[in-house]
């Protein structure tokens, strides 16, 4: 058994779950700098599923593919600390302004370049958009079947993957031949923690751009230890039609963005005293709202 070749699609996202008061600038736009950038949570669930396959089938390799700015290399390293073998950062100004469709096109063209893989595993959705579109859109562009909302990969036998899906009103167990695209639900097991040995091994892993601003004394390391080089691909490294990339390749346009302004209602202010609560309940009973 020579294992499987798995690509995990991951995204670095602003942590929209912990938006503080300084997250919005005075002009109503988002202050991205004030939001910590994190590994998209469901992509970590996806990574865990990939690593479990690697545990079970020796020889399996797990590659993280992410599209984003230079700093998104952070999540590739984070993935390597947890057990991924390597990663590809797809980064280029040509991808700026991509909606989900242009993103899926760029990722699909990258996957065509990678060419050999058995499984593509992604998180169901990213917390900055919550669209759940990129996984299925990539699958369609590659002409592959997709299985979404996966909670557990149960087995791989005879070239077929058996998985449990968690749907709104139930569960489904399906079997699908490889290669395929799987999107993993947040209800799947959490990703394992960083491994101390892997952290030591990969903490200096860098992309070419990161190397250019790094301390030159250690440059020989990157020749001696090729695993420290994180692949950085630009638009030149994939075959693509410029009209399908970035803003030009995005059918959806943002017409306008409104800052959320609350129109305050006249509310009755009530204390937590027994009298106040009792008066409130009396009022609700008398108005037949309750009772």
């Amino acid at each position: 058994m020579s294992g499987y070749k798995i690509i995990v699609l991951a995204k670095q996202v602003p942590d929209t779950r912990n938006v503080g008061k300084d997250a919005m600038k005075a002009d109503g736009t988002i202050n991205r700098a004030a939001l910590p950038a994190i590994f998209n949570p469901e992509d970590l669930n996806a990574l865990e599923q990939a690593l479990r396959i690697k545990d079970q089938f020796p020889g399996t390799t797990v590659t993280i593919l992410t599209m984003g700015p230079g700093r998104a290399a952070e999540i590739i390293r984070e993935g390597m600390f947890r057990g991924a073998d390597d990663g590809i950062l797809l980064t280029d100004r040509a991808f700026a302004g991509s909606d989900t469709l242009a993103t899926s096109y760029a990722l699909a063209q990258t996957l065509k370049k990678i060419a050999s893989f058995d499984l593509i595993i992604a998180g169901r959705q990213a917390i900055d958009g919550d669209t759940a579109q990129v996984g299925p859109q990539v699958a369609e562009k590659l002409g592959l079947p997709q299985v979404t909302y996966v909670e557990e990969i149960r087995s791989i036998e005879n070239g077929k993957v058996t998985m449990k899906r968690r749907l709104e009103r139930g569960v489904e167990v399906v079997r699908c031949p490889m290669p395929l695209v799987i999107t993993v639900n947040g209800s799947a097991p959490d990703c394992r923690a960083r491994n101390a040995k892997l952290l030591m091994r990969y903490k200096h892993a860098k992309t070419v751009s990161e190397l250019q601003i790094a301390n030159e004394d250690y440059m020989h390391l990157y020749n001696d230890r090729p695993y420290l080089n994180i692949k950085e691909w630009t638009v030149q490294d994939i075959d693509s039609n410029p009209e399908e990339l970035g803003l030009a390749g995005s059918p959806t346009k943002v017409k306008k963005v409104d800052n959320v302004v609350l129109q305050a209602k006249e509310a009755k202010i009530i204390t937590s005293s027994d009298e106040d609560i009792n008066l409130l309940m009396r009022e609700l009973i008398d108005s037949h709202t309750i009772g």
Partner: protein, 339 residues
């Protein structure tokens, strides 16, 4: 004028609520655009399904009926819709933001290179001027949704690509029968022409679907909890209050993510939209995504330790204090003062 299309999701031989809600919205969009409303139903043993569809004002119903099309599977349903859309060229296509619609919608949009906006909370027709290109677009679909953790409301348009696609969660739109006797035409699709054998590579081995046990959408009173409730144990107080008042328990996304409540109780943009006569928000800060799912409640009581919580601005009654202290008082008074 090209039509508005709605994909009708089939559950146990009936059209899902979310699809009927979208048919209602689709009818009003079609009226405004002066075009037809068309629906598509894909499944097995669909005879009579039009009874669930025509009363919402559907002019044409496309039916693909084949044993292999039920339960829902991504590839065959995608193939049928993609081919049908290539023939019919709808200007707008709507789907439920359910586990079916969110699986199918992106696949279809990717095949057709059309824009798709997920989880819209409002759909409106409007114009758009592209000043850079010097172009004016009339009667576009404004797809409106909260974005970026709910800090902004974005209006998304698809100026050039068709169909303009959007998914909407269950309960966001209201369903309304236009005319019980509305006469539409049925077009039966030859499934063999619209699918190929390779569309059937995924086998469904097991399937357990449950009727939703909780009915928060229809509950007149909802006691909803957020992250501020603090624990699954504290949530018991909410169940107790809901039980004595004859209501249901709902939850914010933060509370569901924290494991305090089941996902089917989630209220908000990525959950259910509710319009009860009384909504008691316990320890809910009131992010826009949550408010989008409950702000049409007739009366809102907000219980929060933070007097500045955003939820307070839409509340009729604001109680500043601890949920674990206040709920027992409410329960006690109610029990003592009603039969």
């Amino acid at each position: 004028m090209n039509s508005v299309f709605v994909y009708c999701e089939i559950e146990d031989g009936h059209v899902a609520d979310v699809s009927q809600e979208l048919l209602t919205k689709g009818r009003s969009l079609a009226n405004e655009l002066k075009c037809k409303l068309e629906a598509i139903a894909i499944g097995y043993q669909l005879e009579g399904i039009e009874k669930d569809i025509f009363p919402y004002g559907v002019d044409v119903l496309h039916v693909a009926d084949d044993k292999r099309l039920s339960p829902y599977q991504t590839l065959p349903h995608t193939s049928i819709i993609v081919k049908l859309f290539q023939e019919e060229k709808p200007q707008i296509a709507l789907m439920g933001a359910s586990s079916v619609g969110r699986d199918l919608g992106p696949r279809v949009s990717s095949a057709l290179h059309s824009g798709l906006t997920a989880d819209c909370t409002s759909l409106v027709i409007g114009d758009h001027e592209d000043k850079k290109e010097g172009k004016v677009y009339h009667n576009l679909l404004y797809q409106i949704r909260p974005a970026f953790g709910g800090n902004i409301i974005a209006t998304i348009i698809n100026p050039d690509c068709r169909p303009q696609m959007a998914t909407v969660r269950e309960g966001v739109m209201k369903k309304e029968i236009v005319d019980p006797k509305y006469k539409g035409t049925i077009k039966k699709l030859d499934v063999a022409k619209y699918t190929s054998d390779t569309d059937f590579v995924v086998e469904v081995i097991e399937r357990h679907m449950e009727k939703s046990k909780v009915n928060i959408k229809g509950a007149p009173i909802i006691v909803a909890g957020g992250y501020g409730v603090g624990s699954k144990e504290n949530f018991r107080l909410l169940y107790e209050l809901a039980e004595v008042l004859g209501g249901e328990v709902g939850a914010s996304r933060a509370a569901v993510d924290a494991g305090y409540a089941e996902h089917e109780r989630q209220i908000g943009q990525t959950g259910v939209t509710v319009r009860p006569k009384l909504y008691i928000a316990c320890g809910i800060s009131g992010q826009i995504q949550h408010r989008a799912g409950m702000e049409e409640s007739a009366q809102i009581i907000a219980i929060n330790t933070d007097p500045e919580a955003p939820i307070n601005s839409i509340a009729d009654y604001v109680i500043t204090g601890d949920v674990s202290e206040i709920l027992p008082k409410m329960i006690k008074y109610y029990k003592a003062n009603t039969k």
